[in-house]
């Protein structure tokens, strides 16, 4: 369970989030909004990586600022958009880093979590390759595997599907969905409104640094909300296969067929 309450966050003197409140408890919450709206900053603030000037972030009811980095990492696993490893670590070594908060300093990890995580995200087949050699999409799955190995109850994911093709994107979000169904909490910044509507229990629509709407996808992704936040005309309907809300951008000109 994770919540941000009335937080303000500034980056380089500029206010990026203002008075944002959101929470997630045993559910899959998607953070949606246009580029630069503050989705990534919200994820970072929730993970403790960006410190809010005002307001509090709570994990399982405890203020995150009162927890040690190690304790926070046992409760919250964060999947960054990308990673920049400076040296030639193997995929398995990167996934194993997820065990860091659990394993004592000179101890050995005796659990099977690393292996399970790699198999679940389907990266075990290239476990020995260098993290520099794998493709952007594969690297993103490696980071998700690291997140799973971290074995935290709350997952924060920053654009987990950004470099994935449609098949892998759906697989990844299905995996997150099943993790939530097993009792975890997940919050993900998701670029694609239709994927977000299909997989998330609730959505938080962020526009220009504040929450415009939150609730179940069909309440959040209304034509009015989406047009206002994204500044483009849209059609909102239902997907004929999944029955999820489907947003089709029409653009501002007469681009409608």
């Amino acid at each position: 369970m994770i919540s941000v309450e009335d937080i303000d966050v500034s980056l380089a003197g500029e206010k990026v989030l203002e008075d944002v409140t959101a929470r997630a408890t045993d559910e899959f919450v998607g953070v949606v909004g246009p580029n630069g709206a503050g989705k990534t900053t919200l994820i970072r603030a929730a993970s403790g990586a960006a410190e809010p000037e005002d307001g509090v972030v709570r994990v399982d009811g405890d203020e995150i600022s009162s927890l040690s980095s190690r304790e926070t990492a046992r409760r919250v696993a964060t999947m960054p958009q990308n990673t920049d490893v400076s040296f030639e670590f193997s995929v398995e070594e990167v996934v194993r880093m997820g065990r860091h908060p659990h394993v004592p300093r000179f101890g050995t990890d005796r659990t099977d979590k690393v292996r399970e995580a790699m198999e679940r995200v389907d990266v075990a087949c290239f476990a020995d390759r260098s993290i520099h050699e794998v493709s952007g999409g594969e690297r993103q799955r490696v980071l998700l595997a690291r997140c799973l190995a971290q074995d935290a109850d709350t997952l924060l994911l920053d654009e987990p599907t950004a470099s994935l093709d449609i098949g892998r994107a759906v697989e990844t979000l299905s995996l997150v969905r099943s993790l939530v169904d097993e009792g975890r909490t997940a919050v993900a910044a998701i670029h694609d409104l239709n994927l977000a509507a299909r997989f998330c229990d609730e959505l938080v629509l962020v526009g220009d640094g504040s929450v415009v709407s939150n609730g179940v996808p069909s309440e959040v992704l209304t034509q009015e909300n989406v047009e206002r936040v994204f500044g483009t005309s849209v059609h909102v309907g239902r997907d004929e296969v999944t029955d999820a809300v489907r947003v089709t951008a029409l653009g501002n000109g007469d681009t409608v067929r």
Binding site: S47, S69, T83, E88, F89, M97, P101, C125
Partner: protein
């Protein structure tokens, strides 16, 4: 599906466990180090045969360590003096300095996330130079070694202070502040040498080149404790350093406190480097090429890389010093010249072959 599972099995089955890797490489390198020390004891102005070297060393070991049996070969007394009081302390100091520079170099390269970083990058050698040259030129009544040690830590502290703002220390800022402070301190050293008399100038230049001449057991006693203690602390934080390679933000989400970890790593590797530079002057390239080469052999994990770089650094410097003692017949060459002559070509080779695409 079966094929996929087999691949997964294989990839897990082949890799030795981390602990086994550490034990294997450290045993091999420790053995090489012991043999190198013994071989190097025979090298120098006076030629001493290896049977004599072994006899003297075994005799000495018997005197100090009651559980070593055998021996009693008895080399001549003169040979015994040369080996035990002249060469061995010097070799042990050299090994310790190499050990320190190798370990600190591995840590600094990880810290700066840059395979071209050097343990003296944050002004340590320039600070040490200011302290040492001031004592030499102005004949101050403190030891050169002490002044160099204090100067080194003061410079590192200054660089750290300059790069820290509101409790945050930027790695790039640290690098640039280090370069600026090095230039400034370099100017001070140049000034002091400029106003110095010829004898002072000669000693100062000699110190700056890095050398292991006239090292005694008291130098061993001064350099070994800080280096070993610091090494222990660095090992303690080896895994955190691995995580820190991902960048501060990511490290925090994996349970590492980046601010505290960075401060400890920087302070301790500075102390280790300062102890080495204080006793032996500026010996370049050991801290740069040894961790670099070891990374190619054992991989980037600092739990393996730090101890193996330390041991390989010790071996490297023992041999570099042996070369320095023997190439010019009776005359000695500063060991810093040897390490640079060997180190630069190797560095350029790496630059051309491996690292160009990463920087």
């Amino acid at each position: 599906m079966a094929g996929y599972e087999r691949t997964a099995e294989a990839s897990f089955g082949t890799g030795r466990s981390l602990r086994a890797t550490v034990v294997f490489w450290c045993s091999v390198l420790s053995f090489v180090l012991l043999v190198s020390v013994a071989l190097a004891s025979g090298i120098g102005a006076v030629d001493i045969g290896y049977s004599t070297v072994v006899a003297v060393l075994v005799d000495a070991a018997r005197r100090w360590l009651p559980f070593v049996s055998g021996g009693g070969f008895g080399g001549s007394e003169a040979h015994e003096t040369i080996i035990l009081n002249v060469r061995l302390p010097r070799i042990v100091v050299g090994a310790t300095v190499g050990f320190a520079l190798g370990a600190a170099g591995a840590v600094m390269q990880g810290f700066f996330r840059n395979p071209m970083a050097d343990p003296t990058i944050i002004g340590i050698s320039s600070g040490a130079a200011v302290g040492a040259v001031a004592v030499i030129v102005y004949s101050l009544s403190v030891s050169v070694q002490f002044a160099a040690f204090v100067g080194a830590l003061a410079a590192a502290g200054l660089v750290y202070g300059l790069a820290t703002k509101n409790g945050r220390t930027g790695v790039a800022t640290l690098l640039l502040a280090g370069i600026a402070v090095q230039m400034f301190l370099g100017a001070i050293v140049s000034y002091m040498m400029h106003v110095s008399d010829d004898e002072g100038l000669r000693s100062a230049v000699y110190w700056l080149m890095g050398n292991l001449l006239y090292k005694s057991w008291s130098d061993v006693a001064a350099v070994v404790p800080p280096v070993l203690l610091g090494f222990g602390v660095l090992l303690f934080f080896a895994r955190d350093l691995n995580i820190l390679l991902l960048g501060e933000r990511e490290a925090r989400t994996l349970g590492v406190n980046p601010g505290r970890t960075k401060m400890v790593l920087l302070a301790v590797s500075s102390i280790v480097t300062a102890a080495a530079v204080a006793v032996a002057g500026v010996i370049g390239f050991v801290g740069l090429i040894v961790p670099h080469a070891m990374r190619l052999v054992v991989g980037p994990d600092h739990r393996v890389l730090i101890p193996t770089s330390a041991l390989a650094g010790a071996v490297f410097l023992v041999w570099a010093d042996a070369v320095a003692r023997s190439v010019m017949g009776g005359a000695e060459m500063p060991v810093g010249i040897v390490t640079a002559l060997v180190g630069v070509p190797f560095f350029l080779y790496l630059l051309r072959t491996r690292e160009v695409h990463e920087l």
